[in-house]
């Protein structure tokens, strides 16, 4: 993977913030960076193709769109971790799924439109072979949600 130049870092730092909501957002970003729209767009396409960008788009507040979110911790027998992780991945509402060190070794977040849907999915996952325990850790209050990395 290519090294990020100072320009790349400035561009990515800006892009992680707010994309302007106007007719020519990349031209506006280019002016902030002291360059032109074509340079910004070409470099972004290259950085995207090189795998630096997971996603460019809109991040919604799931709660305000009417969805409920929970974090779930599973204790899974080591031999079943792969199959359980793959089964969880198949649910569209399971947006994050991580294997972690510790007794509870599989952690995922689940977004669902209502409690019935959530209960049904959690019951299905609890019943998977190798799942020994499940903790449901519903969010009460969000103090911070800000996935931005300052590149220096």
């Amino acid at each position: 993977m290519t090294e990020l130049s100072d320009f790349d870092k400035a561009l990515l730092n800006l892009l992680q913030g707010d994309i302007p909501i106007c007719s020519h957002p990349f031209a506006k970003m280019a002016r902030t960076l002291g360059t032109d729209e074509g340079t910004v767009l070409n470099r972004l396409r290259e950085l995207k193709a090189a795998g630096y960008l997971r996603r460019i788009g809109t991040f919604f507040d799931s709660h305000r769109l009417g969805y409920r979110g929970t974090l779930v911790a599973l204790k899974v027998a080591p031999s079943a971790v792969n199959s359980v992780a793959q089964a969880i991945n198949r649910y569209p509402g399971a947006t994050h799924n991580y294997e972690r060190e510790g007794l509870y070794n599989l952690w995922f977040t689940l977004l669902t439109p209502d409690v019935e849907c959530e209960s049904k999915i959690l019951a299905e996952i609890r019943a998977l072979g190798g799942v020994e325990d499940m903790l449901k850790l519903k969010a009460n209050k969000k103090y911070k949600v800000n996935v931005q990395f300052n590149l220096q």
Binding site: L12, Y52, L65, A94, T95, R100, E101, W107
Partner: protein, 158 residues
């Protein structure tokens, strides 16, 4: 639950797809929904004002840009101190998420932070720093072993 019109849902669906990397991206998205660019931009601004949109922007692949040590840290915080501790932890730049969550039987941890650093040593040092600053000594560090899935939610597609 608030009712979203069919057009609201169409706009949200268009916005949650990959943002077009071209000169007039909103015009492209507007066309998919059958709105003028001007009307579409107005609706996007309204969603921002209503705080239904948190942010328009990019998420980096943090491992690729050098953040290789990522830990979920679960803290046991006395309920009356949650707001104060939440504020201390949220103020740290290495913390991306900080949530108060319900506990479970035999699991007393009620505050969760995601911490990102370049190395494990650096991540451990940040957690010690947070522990000292907040005065919370009962916590569990859950380092990421493997990312199985990380994706944006697709709303209104069920």
């Amino acid at each position: 639950m608030e009712n979203f019109s069919l057009q609201d849902k169409q706009i949200i669906r268009a916005l949650q797809e990959d943002f077009p990397l071209c000169s007039e991206p909103y015009k492209i998205l507007a066309q998919r929904v059958g709105l003028s660019e001007e009307d579409f931009l107005r609706r996007v601004k309204k969603l921002v004002d209503e705080k239904k949109i948190r942010r328009m922007g990019a998420v980096l692949r943090h491992r690729e840009v050098g953040f290789k040590a990522n830990a979920l840290c679960a803290w046991h915080v006395p309920p009356d101190k949650l707001d104060a501790v939440g504020a201390v932890m949220s103020a740290h730049a290495a913390v991306s998420h900080c949530y108060d969550r319900t506990t479970a039987p035999n699991w007393n941890y009620n505050l969760y932070t995601m911490i990102h650093a370049k190395t494990r040593e650096e991540c451990d040092a940040i957690i010690t720093e947070l522990s000292n600053a907040a005065g919370i000594t009962d916590y569990k560090i859950l380092y990421t072993k493997r990312e199985w899935k990380k994706t944006g939610m697709k709303y209104f597609c069920e």
